[in-house]
Each structure stands twice: as C-alpha cells, then as structure tokens.
Symmetry: C2
Subunit: 214 residues, 2 copies
C-alpha cells in the first residue's frame, strides 16, 4: 500500500513535468533547474547571471524555499519576473509547484527562466520539474567529497558548476579528486570552475547559457 502511494506521486510528477516541458517549449523560454546544498551560492549565481545578461536577455526566476522570501527579494531588485514558492516544509520542489508558479509569470516574454530549488542535495534529485537542463552547483568550501557522498545529484545533472574558487587556497579541496569522483559516475559531464564573487571562470558559464538559449 505504501509503495503504491509513492508510485502514484512519482507518476503524477512525471505527468506534470511533461506538461511544464510542453508549455515552456511552446513559449520558447529556456528553463534551468539549479540544485545545490544550502549556501553553495545558487542565489549569487542567479544574481550575477542576471547582471551579466541585463542588456541581452529577459530573465525570470522561480524561487524555491521552505519558508521566507529572503532570496526572492534580492532578485526582485534586479528583475520583475520573480515568483516565490514556499514549500511549507517540503524538502524539494515538484513539477506541480512549478506548474502553479508558471501561471504567475508571462513566460512568453522571457528568454531564460531559472528555477532555484530548495537547498538540498538529496530530495530534489528525483523530481523532474520539466526543465530543459538541470545543473548542480557545488562549492569549494563544502569539500571535495560531495560526489562520493551524494552521487545521484552528480549523476542526474547536465552540468557541474564548482563555485567559490576564490576560497580554494584557504581550503584542503583537491580538484583532481573531485573531478575523478565525478568522472567515475558521470564520465561525460562538463565541469566549470567559477567564483560568483570574483567572476573567475564566469564567462564559460555565461557562454554555456547563451548557447542553450539560441
């Protein structure tokens, strides 16, 4: 009985994700779902990307949090199309939450839509939101063993961003170990080293986004 309930939830999510995907395809907007641990820098990544693309692309953001509008407020200072999802305790976004958020944005006017998932390296992994691309943002200060500890997050991703490269000389982070453990489970994925603070490596990320938009 319990298994049946779980399967229904996942099946329902799959159907909702399919509908979201059809909708964003029709509107011609690129939707990117960003996963990370708490404090890896999802909001900083979004803010810096909005600033860099200010004159070239129209960007919207769906902000996922358990509670508060703390991050959404920061983004609202830069753009209008921000919708907050407060999950009220749920540890991940699902496709149906995103479907409701999509109703509140005029996506036909957007080039790019970021979905900032709840900060969690486990639960969001299983939930397709209907995005075009899913990326994972890891950070130097979290340590180089995250691909070992949270493998599914690094398997089910289209891109790995390693943020906070500005802290690497103050840490024991071994990049070769990090990369090797990702290659063990996801041999082909691209890994970009960036710093949202110093903008180190940021052009490569912007170029990746630009290629996906066009």
């Amino acid at each position: 009985m319990e298994i049946e309930v779980v399967e229904n939830v996942m099946q329902y999510n799959k159907e909702e994700a399919y509908r979201n995907r059809q909708l964003i395809k029709k509107s011609g907007v690129l939707m990117i779902n960003i996963l990370s641990a708490p404090g890896a820098g999802k909001t900083s990544l979004i803010l810096a990307t909005i600033k860099a693309f200010k004159s070239s692309f129209k960007i919207g953001v769906i902000e996922g949090d358990i509670s508060s509008t703390h991050d959404a407020e920061k983004i609202k200072d830069l753009i209008d199309d921000v919708v907050q999802i407060n999950t009220g305790g749920t540890c991940h976004l699902n496709a149906s939450m995103v479907a409701r958020a999509l109703e509140k944005i005029d996506i036909s006017g957007l080039d790019l839509l970021f979905v900032e998932n709840v900060g969690n390296l486990i639960c969001p992994v299983g939930f397709d939101l209907g995005e075009d691309y899913r990326i994972i943002l890891s950070s130097v200060s979290e340590g180089d063993d995250k691909p070992v500890k949270y493998p599914k997050a690094f398997i089910r991703t289209d891109l790995v961003l390693l943020n906070k490269m500005d802290l690497i000389s103050f840490s024991d982070f071994k990049y070769d170990f990090f990369e090797k453990r990702i290659r063990d489970i996801n041999p082909e994925v691209e890994i970009f080293k960036i710093s949202c603070k110093t903008k180190e490596g940021f052009n490569r990320w912007l170029q990746w986004v630009e290629e996906k938009i066009s």
Copy 2:
C-alpha cells in the same frame, strides 16, 4: 489515507526513539545527534573532538550517509567503535536505523556517542533518534542567512556551532545578522564560534561536551 501513513511512521519513530533513549540512559553514555548541511564539517568536528578527548573519554560514532563509507573510514583510523548506516537514498536517519546500529556497538564501554546525521538541513529535523542532545553545525561559508532559510533546524536544537570561522575575513558573513535571526526564533540557545581547522573557540565546545558527560 496518505496522512494516516505518515502519522504511523512518526508514531513508530517516537516509540523507537524512546527505546533508544532508555537504552543509552541505562548504559550511561551521552548521545549527541549532529545535524548540518552537506560540507559544514560534521566529520571534521567529530575527528577533532576524538583527538582532543583521546586520553579522557571513550568515544563511539554512528555515521549516517546515503551511501559510501568515506567518513567512517577516516574515523576508524582513530577509534574502533564506528558503525556506518547507509540509508540507501533516504534523506535522514530515523530512530529505527539508530536502534540497529546501537546493537553493533558495545555502548556500555563508551562515555560519548556521536551520531553524524545525513547532510541535510530539512529532513532530519523531524526525526528524534533518542539522543540526549541535538546540535546544529552551520558554517561561515554557507552564509549568514541559514536561520532564515531553514528555521526549524535552528529552533529544534540544543546548541548552535558556527564552524569555519577561519574563513570569515574572506566572506560577507555578518555574525550579528546570523545571531539576531537565531535569537528571533530560539532566544536562549547557546552559539559557539569555532574552527575545526585552526581550533579557534574549540575549548568552549569541548567544555560543553565535558559538562554534559559528567
């Protein structure tokens, strides 16, 4: 129907936690459940504490991870009483997993037992493991807004440790903001600033543990 299933799970956890608590009380061991985001430094805290107490207390560790024995191996270099729980995907430990782990350690010979929960600021919060104390380990590099974003973790804790103080001068972390947002939701809780790397503030933590043991 779904709600009923969830309630049964929580009720069952409560009963198992009660049994764990009785067992550790009988054995006279102090059990501390450590919660944090991925990469905040739970394993570093445990390793440094074991080293500091090497000649005074006998310590055991229950290691919680989704998969791998990466952290447990590091601890096994220092002490014998280490048990790994691999949750196989589950995003938190529960009391029944800990009950099974407790069967594999001779707790009657221990003074202190750390339970390193799965790296996650959301899901582990609702699950009492039968511990004497629950602590949350936050870190400077995660940013000062974690109490705003993950309030329940900071409400349901007996102590807040703020790790990675050695990185504070390279970050935008505002300690006053961090503390104020904790005080808003948990006015009385103690907050210790520490660095597991430089051992800044570490004595205060060791003293706290020592007081609880005796």
